[in-house]
């Protein structure tokens, strides 16, 4: 026993880690292999028989993992863009231009005390952020990033989106009710009222598009907008686009419709009593929501992954690498060196004050940039999903920017103006849009 | 200095002015007794010859011998401030009529005077402490106020250093109260 202890004490940290991990890996690997040998066929058959379920699980996990960096990116965007609009500097400490600041914020939120106030309804209070976050990332499942990059191509994609997205308000209501706080209660009730009011024009505004395409599948809707940008639904259904944009602003609780967390009135609304990562979930869910509604808008109205104009040429950059033979490893080894020196040469020649290593570093960076750009161009040209994804993200982030811009510019609407606007203007307008579309379809056949 | 205003005031209120109208710089000062205060205020406000529609300030004054309530009024007709002093209020149980019947905005100023001097304004609907806590016992701007003396009666007595009980060694009512000479 004591021998074991002394041996353990003599080990370096790496050795200790190895001593712990090695048996686990060996035993686990052997066990897994044995299991696969014994039941491999059965497992394969089960997976093969239940592909949709496996696909759903895998897609859910991937979307869940995607949301976190997306939220970090959006939070950084909002911090930086609003700071620049406010004539501030904004985050500038962590990472280049403070780009990692939001990640650090996330870590900070993780490390904070997870405090449950006394007198809250503990199960509901604990579940509320989970519900809100789940509802927001589950809607990401049906977003058609590209024809080849759609997690779940549901036939009722649009309906699924509204149904699951509307589920988030249940979480807000749970948070508001269980917090035992009047601000939270008011915030929760406001969230419920706002979501119910704006769900209706939101859903009705896309009915015209459903009439035109004859499908609720988002992939089909995107496919119906192929061609030039004039085929996008924002030009064929402008009224619907306006209604839809206003409604998604309200749905994602963004300025000027952020009454649920109006800090001048009800402190932080439903999130008043939350701290630590539970608050972090609400916070993340808001930004994930912004991304998702922007993505939905660009899918439904901005042609999704289609390019604004149909590119008339498809460049064929087809190099058969196999023909190079021994030249391939030579090229792979020499190209960075030669490229770096070639790029460094002008710096070194024309800027004599720059030291040699600085010139070389600059040359390396330039070469890296150039080759990355070349590979990117090649990928866009050769791999359609990459180009599609690029266009889709371009449109989506333009919309995200518009959301941030609105937050930097507009004051908040009052709750009665907000509700009145939904019921008195948006609802009749969306009905009008449906009638006009239906009549147009009838006439033109 | 608005001589015409002084003349008008002297004529109109000659029956109730305690001392003749005083003027200094841009201020005109009249003094009326407690019984005539409401009538005088009403006359100053309502009569078109005066038209003092604005109550700029209302405050209490403790002269050491008596309490006073001081009103500062402004009117469009004159560039003078009119100061109406109601002297001779009993220090032991100060009571005065409220001005809220005419100027609802005087409510808080009366609450402040009540809080600071203990003057009870009859007719004010909301006469309670405005600055000090509800369980505070004394009235801080009175000339016989000691922090320590009051703290010994407050619920926090002896807890915080600031409010530890104890009066100045030679403090008696006679030596401590500062009395105004010319006020």
């Amino acid at each position: 026993m004591s021998g074991l202890t002394t041996t353990w004490a003599r080990l370096t940290p790496a050795g200790r880690a190895l001593a712990v991990l090695l048996p686990i890996v060996v035993i686990g690997g052997a066990g897994t292999t044995a299991l696969l040998v014994a039941f491999g066929g059965a497992i394969g058959a089960t997976i093969g028989a239940n592909i949709p379920i496996v696909r759903f699980l895998a897609a859910s996990v991937i979307t869940f993992l995607i949301t976190v960096p997306t939220a970090f990116l959006l939070i950084y965007m909002e911090m930086k863009i609003i700071a620049l609009m406010n004539l501030r500097i904004g985050p500038d400490r962590v990472g280049p231009f403070g780009a990692v600041m939001s990640v650090v914020h996330g870590l900070k939120v993780l490390m904070k005390e997870d405090y449950t106030p006394p007198s809250v309804d503990v199960p509901v209070f604990t579940l509320a952020p989970v519900v809100v976050y789940t509802a927001s990332f589950m809607t990401l499942l049906v977003i058609p990033f590209a024809p080849a990059l759609t997690s779940m191509n549901l036939e009722l994609g649009l309906l699924y989106f509204f149904a699951v997205g509307g589920f988030g308000v249940v979480g807000l209501m749970m948070a508001g009710w269980s917090s035992f706080n009047k601000y939270s209660l008011l915030g929760g009730i406001r969230a419920a009222a706002q979501a119910i009011s704006y769900e209706i024009p939101l859903t009705l505004s896309v009915v015209g598009i459903v009439i035109l395409t004859g499908s609720l599948s988002l992939t089909a809707i995107v496919a119906a907008q192929s061609g030039s940008f004039l085929d996008w639904f924002i030009f064929r259904q402008p009224l619907a686009a306006i209604i839809f944009f206003i409604a998604i602003t309200a749905e994602s609780n963004r300025t000027p419709f952020d009454n649920t967390e109006a800090d001048q009135e009800i402190v932080a609304g439903f999130a008043t009593e939350y701290s630590g990562m539970r608050f972090g979930f609400f916070f993340f869910a808001e930004y994930v929501n912004v991304f998702i509604v922007s993505a939905l808008f660009s899918a439904v109205f901005l042609g999704g992954s289609h390019a604004p104009i149909n590119l008339p040429f498809h460049p064929e950059i087809n190099v058969d690498l196999g023909t190079l033979g021994i030249g391939l490893p030579l090229l792979a080894g020499l190209a960075p060196v030669v490229g770096t020196i070639l790029c460094a040469a002008p710096i070194w020649l024309f800027a004599p004050r720059v030291r040699t290593w600085q010139a070389l570093l600059g040359g390396f960076l330039i070469f890296g940039g150039l080759s990355t750009a070349a590979i990117g161009v090649w990928a866009v040209a050769m791999l359609p999903p990459v180009a599609d994804l690029l266009f889709f993200l371009l449109k989506t982030f333009t919309l995200v920017f518009i959301f941030v811009w609105m937050r930097g510019t507009l004051p908040r609407a009052r709750i009665d103006q907000l509700m009145g606007f939904a019921w008195k203007w948006l609802l009749p307008a969306s009905l009008l849009n449906i009638f006009a579309t239906a009549i147009a379809v009838l006439i033109t056949g | 200095m608005d001589r015409a205003l002084a003349r008008d005031l002297q004529e109109r209120f000659s029956d109730r002015l305690l001392v003749p109208v005083r003027q200094r710089h841009d201020e005109t000062e009249i003094r009326v007794s407690l019984a005539n205060a409401v009538d005088t205020l009403r006359a100053l406000h309502d009569e078109p010859a005066f038209g003092f529609e604005m109550l700029i300030d209302l405050c209490g004054v403790d002269t050491g011998d008596e309490m006073q309530v001081v009103y500062h009024l402004a009117a469009a007709r004159s560039a003078d401030w009119l100061r109406l002093i109601v002297p001779g209020i009993d220090r032991a149980a100060p009571r005065a009529p409220s001005a809220t019947f005419m100027w609802p905005g005087a409510e808080w100023m009366e609450r402040e005077a009540y809080d600071m001097f203990g003057i009870i304004f009859e007719g004010n609907r909301d006469l309670r402490r405005i600055y000090m806590p509800d369980d505070y016992q004394s009235h801080p701007l009175r000339k016989d106020f000691y922090l320590a003396d009051d703290a010994s009666r407050s619920p926090a007595a002896g807890v915080r250093n600031m409010e530890r009980a104890g009066t100045p060694r030679d403090a008696t009512a006679a030596t401590a109260v500062r009395r105004a000479k010319g006020a």
């Binding site: 406010n86 009047k182 009135e265 009052r414 | 700029i56 405050c59 609907r125 909301d126 105004a180």
Partner: protein, 407 residues
Amino acid sequence: MTTETTRPTRPSLDDPRVAIPGSSSWYEPAPTPQTERQAEFLNLRDGEMFINMGPQHPSTHGVLRIIVKVNGEQVIDLDPVLGYLHRGVEKLCENADYHQAICYTDPLEYVSSLFCEAAPVAAFEKLMDVEVPRRAQYIRVLTMELNRIASHTLFQGWMALDLGGLTPILWSFIERDEIVDMLAALTGQKLLYNYYRIGGVNGDLNHEFMSRLGAWMSRAAKHIDSNLGLMNENELFVRRTRDLGTLDAATALRMGVTGPNLRASGVPFDLRRDRPYLVYPELEFDVPTRTEGDALARYLVRIEEIKQSIRIIDQVLHEMPDGPVMAKLPRLIRPRPGRAFGAVEGPRGVYGVYAISDGTDQPFRMRIHDPSFVHLQLVGPLTRGNLIADTMAVMASLDPVMGGVDK
């Protein structure tokens, strides 16, 4: 080892809450009503509840607590609770000499503290019968108007912030920062200047102040106009403030309202013109008034006042005479017994000091009248029946500063 002793029945002697035995939560028992009005306020009808805003709340302009009685979103009644910032300045001034008293009044309205100095200084000068040198009068007008602009630009930003707009406050801080730096170059401090003295000002204008002022004046009007575009042409802002908290002239007079709030209701009462002090009678400026009396009108009147202040500064810079900046006065101020009321037109209304001298070197009584204190009374009457969000909008449009309210 008992669990009772770990939790005292009173958590702190300052805290009137009590513990419920056997429960882990605190509750605050309803206070016993002391007056008729409070009893009426504390009486909750069906569907009503109290919401407590402050003393720690994002939009109370300082440390103010407002108990709001709401029915859903609708405000039924509200009761401001003051005193969280009460420092007893009047009592402190009674125990200080006349110069020290000016220091005490300085931090009252910390947004525009030159006006808090100007009022007691005016009162003491009346007590001393001293004439301020003309150059000092011009300097006072100049610095006060600068401070008025600083205060009004800050108001503009706060108003937008209370309506949920993030950007205008930071834009308006550009002008305020510039003015504050300018005054710091003149007085040595950024917030509490302590610049006016009985009989003059503390030090003549210096080079840094004048050069900064010149640079700022050349672009001030343009900058302020560009800031305004963000709010005045904003449909949401205009819709939220128009017809909100409408105050008619008669009510305003009866409530003792002064300053821009009164002028927004259509009463053109401005001390600078109606009770001339310093060199204001010789300067040319308009008194902007509006007749609507709503929150938007109160906002627009202040914006117009910024422009008039720039106009006044322009004239002052052209007409400023040379000469001394302090009158000859004894070092120890010991006025004859008497009473004086000194008032100036501050950015929020009439800022007055009523000083009584008993012949010693300390004021016998120093009453400080603050316009914010009076205006805060209006929050209740003006928001009754509106929504919770309007409480903040109305309060922002009345522009109270809690440092002045709580004295």
